[in-house]
Amino acid sequence: MSGGVDSAVAAARAHDAGHDVTGVHLALARNPQTYRTGARGCCTLEDSRDARRAADVIGIPFYVWDMADQFHESVVDNFVAEYAAGRTPNPCLRCNEKIKFAAVLDRAVALGFDAVVTGHHARLGADGLLRRSVDDGKDQSYVLAVLTRAQLDRAVFPLGDSTKAQVRAEAAERGLAVADKPDSHDICFIADGDTRGFLERRLGTAPGDIVDSRTGETIGTHNGAFSYTVGQRKGLDLRVPAADGRPRYVLSITPKTNTVTVGPREALAVDVVTATRVIWHGEPTPVECDVQLRAHGEVVRAEVTVEGDTLTARLHEPARGVAAGQAIVAYRRDPGGDAVLGSATITAGVPVSSGPAEPAVAHA
């Protein structure tokens, strides 16, 4: 129970369904003051108090579990290491994989609990398939698709059939004070929302060149290639305008030479994506499906093939801003909520114009 409205309603529904529910709030900051303060998020004193009050109203026991060390190691350090390697991590996905449905789940099961209930917006039906929430805008199946069969078997998502508005209305009816608490959007361990500043504090500054992909010319400098994400346009601070006067985007990041390569929007387009660390739920491949390449990103039709620990997606239309380190999630269209076939971590995207040999996305 983060102290937000979703987990409060999820706990209340599980309790109503007759389960013996215990509320757990995760203390993830080694020093609560160092993480985000204010009403939003998952790591503050106020949030722990809100979670406790929700548990009181529901009428369930409540405890705070200290997972700060594990969170730091598995999520925060990994976040920094991934950026240092030129990739773009998704810490919420990582937290689900390593904390909520690993450390918390393992501890809970050992203590005699059967499952972990969360307020994620996703459906997990009797068929065991993870599906998108009925609320498209709030769907979180993308950051849950990393869960293995064993993890999903111990997961309960009571909110998947409700929209966020319905959840808020229900919270108000139940007398939960968090009914109108604002949503959290930022990364909970970056207090001020300044990811670049956070990375610079952790990794130090490392000035390097920003290079034009067409001319090979150095057209700017940066304070650390790790601060950039493929597809990024803002914050490049280029003093030399492009010949055609059009905006330039980050095409690739090369940690070895500390180089950020930029180019026109077209050059971002990729039509083949390769990925590793595959979680696949058994559908035979190649398979025609939708793939989603970043959180809240658009979906693209593709033919997906899984061979060993490699997933290859041949996109039927090009995608842009495909960053190594992000997840590719494969969905089968379904009127009852698109179902997750599997997921993997993107290693490379192959530009439309080039042959298969030249990845546009750096990988280490």
């Binding site: 215990t22 709030h25 203390a27 609560p32 004193l45 722990s48 406790r52 026991p61 405890y63 705070v64 579990w65 200290d66 700060a68 594990q70 190691e73 598995s74 390593k98 690993a102 450390a103 918390v104 393992d106 501890r107 050992a110 203590l111 005699g112």
Partner: protein
């Protein structure tokens, strides 16, 4: 709250009257306060004028440590050293720490042995070396976590001989073991209502008549000009009843509860042979049992026992509710893991053998389960 204390409270709470008012209702309230003061003084062998009513243990500890420090330093600018034991309650430790960071005090922490006891020689050595620099010495009468009783008479005597005021936090001791303020030789002593069957929010500092103490709270000067604030007549009346009753019944209570506690200890050792017994064997509060359960986390044990209807304690939690490794166990030489694997079982007036049975029935399965529950710490 003891029924008699609650009766005293509700009776007094019905009447209006500020004990500082001069009219009849005020005089009536005043009489109740003064009678209560006399009852507390008599129960603890202090003079009535030595009883300074406060809002409880935390205020009394702060008043004693800071107030005596300020007064001593005013009298002699050299007196800036404050000595406290490593196992003090945070109400003393944090107050002393504050004196260090904000008032230029030199904070000198007395170590304890593996049972949590202060070595009088260690104090004597400091008194010898720093005699003219010490403003105040504060050592608790008994520890709130592991129940160890300090050699308080000896510590107080050594300190008095050096001409230094000695404060003792006796919150855990009054009603549990014999406490005689005059005989102890202490200059100041903290006690509080809710630890002995009285209400929360009322306590006292017994402060020797000749011990200068600068107030923390300024205002009407109601309590000897050392403490200001309108007196809580009903709370004080109930507090006095509780002090009197708990002191009167102390011997019988201690005999009954320590027998129950010893039974609990014997049986815990039988069912969990590798449980580590923490604290002293003989000089120990009658209702206190404290163990470390190797391979377990205290908060997992607490969760499981709580679900089985047994309320126990892991020590302290931070304001967010995260269990912290106990500074008391760390001071006794425990490592972080042992400190985190610890549980305190406290017995009191209402404890029964059936409750001990209930704990012992739940404990083996709880420990086994909690041991399995530590695997999550290994990242996968």
């Amino acid at each position: 709250m003891l029924a008699e204390a609650l009766d005293a409270y509700t009776t007094a709470a019905r009447d209006v009257g500020n004990p500082s008012s001069l009219h009849a209702a005020g005089r009536c309230a005043r009489r109740l306060v003064e009678e209560s003061r006399e009852r507390i003084a008599a129960a603890l062998n202090a003079r009535p004028s030595e009883v300074v009513f406060t809002s409880g243990g935390t205020e009394s500890d702060n008043l004693a440590t800071k107030g005596i420090f300020w007064a001593q330093r005013s009298a002699s600018l050299n007196r800036t050293r404050v000595i406290a034991s490593a196992v003090e309650h945070h109400a003393v430790l944090d107050a002393v720490d504050w004196l260090g960071t904000h008032e230029g005090a030199t904070v000198d922490i007395l170590p304890v042995d593996e049972t949590g006891a202060v070595d009088p020689d260690a104090l004597a050595d400091r008194l010898d070396r720093y005699r003219d620099e010490i403003a105040v010495v504060s050592v608790q009468w008994a520890n709130n976590e592991v129940g160890t009783i300090q050699p308080i008479h000896e510590l107080a005597r050594l300190t008095a001989e050096a001409g230094v005021p000695f404060h003792t936090d006796a919150v855990q001791a009054v009603g549990q073991i014999p406490v005689d303020f005059a005989a102890s030789g202490a200059a100041a002593m903290t006690l509080t209502g809710h630890k002995l069957g009285g209400p929360v929010g009322v306590g006292a500092l017994l402060l020797g008549r000749d011990v200068p103490c600068t107030p923390l709270l300024h205002g009407g000067g109601q309590e000897r000009d050392v403490r200001s604030g309108t007196l809580d007549t009903a709370g004080i009346a109930a507090f006095a009843v509780a002090v009197e009753m708990s002191v009167k019944s102390q011997q019988d209570y201690a005999a009954r509860v320590s027998a129950l506690r010893d039974d609990l200890i014997t049986r815990v050792r039988q069912v969990v042979p590798d449980a580590v017994y923490n604290g002293a064997t003989a000089d120990r509060l009658p209702g206190n049992a404290h163990f470390s359960f190797p391979g377990c986390e205290g908060d997992a044990l607490l969760l499981l026992l709580d679900a089985a209807g047994v309320a126990c304690s892991t020590g302290s939690a931070c304001s967010a509710g995260v269990a912290q490794p106990s500074h008391v166990l760390i001071a006794m030489g425990a490592d972080d893991d042992r400190a985190r694997s610890s549980l305190r079982f406290t017995l009191g007036h209402t404890s029964t053998i059936e409750e001990v049975d209930q704990l012992l029935a739940a404990l083996p399965g709880t420990v086994e389960r909690a041991r399995r529950a530590t695997a999550w710490k290994t990242p996968r």
